[in-house]
Symmetry: C2
Subunit: 149 residues, 2 copies
DNA sequence: GCTTGACTTAGAGCATACTCTAACTTCTAG
DNA sequence: CTAGAAGTTAGAGTATGCTCTAAGTCAAGC
């Protein structure tokens, strides 16, 4: 295990930029990383594991503020494990709901695409029936955004 | 069909705020809505259908800029249908990829939660073996963010 | 006629998440 | 020894997506 990666190495491996890695450290998402002589960052394997976990949270749209809270709890020791678990459970529920919402909408997009295809069929050859306004369908929709918390 | 909803009605039905509805109209996401005497907006059923479609795009994280492009093509008539279809197909591919990424990460979260649970088991009763640093696992990760376009 | 309340507009302000600049230091190679 | 590449910091700037304010208009009720 190479427990001494430079910031550029880490950037390459994680897909984050060096800017972002420093930013995450500044705001407390990543604990202060070890330094080589001269002050350069040297990332340990444990730093990498944590960053990878952060990226999982980011992939699932956890806001940075919550990631920070989580990071702080983590820094406070094992006694915060239950609270961290609860945070993850809550987040997971959000994630699963979001996945389901996206699946639904992906289905609607597929239907729309199919509709466009059939429309192109009836327009391309020479059917002069081109006077339908398009966009005649959509299933009911239920979304709620504001003041739901 | 009540083809004459006020902005507040539409806000209630869509979960958007009146602010957001006006904003969407201003930036060209929604075509200028019909007005009652006095200038007040009156949304037709077709407006509602379009807004619901926009919400599908939003749910699937399409940026407003792309929605705008789509809206403009739509306003340009049926001849732009093929291009719109291509846009949707591209977007759908993104969405499916995102869903898969989220599914993966949701799995990792579940594993983490299970880990916390077992940890709590071994910490709660009175096992004084509480000196493991936690967080010892994570599967490989592959993400790419910058300069991939 | 006057107030009230819901609407209108243009434009300012805010939250989130980076992204970059400026000025400086330090390591490495020739 | 010196040039260049790569790193450092604090802080400014940018993109996105709203969200709200200020000032004004309009219809309806008292």
């Amino acid at each position: 295990m190479e427990s001494h990666l430079s910031i550029d190495e880490v950037a390459k491996r994680t897909g984050l930029t060096a800017y972002t890695l420093r930013y995450y450290e500044r705001i407390g998402l990543i604990a202060p990383v070890a330094r080589a002589a001269g002050g350069q960052r040297r990332y340990a394997a444990s730093d990498m594991a944590w960053i990878e976990f952060l990226l999982r949270l980011r992939t699932t749209n956890m806001p940075i503020g919550k990631m920070r809270s989580f990071a702080i709890l983590r820094g406070a020791g094992d006694s915060t494990a239950p609270e961290r678990r609860r945070m993850l459970e809550e987040h997971l529920a959000d994630v699963l709901a979001k996945i389901e919402a996206m699946r639904q909408s992906a289905g609607a997009l597929q239907a729309k695409i199919a509709y466009y295809r059939s429309l192109e069929q009836s327009l391309a050859p020479g059917s002069t029936s081109g006077k339908g306004d398009l966009d005649e369908h959509s299933k009911p929709l239920r979304t709620r955004h504001r003041k739901t918390a």
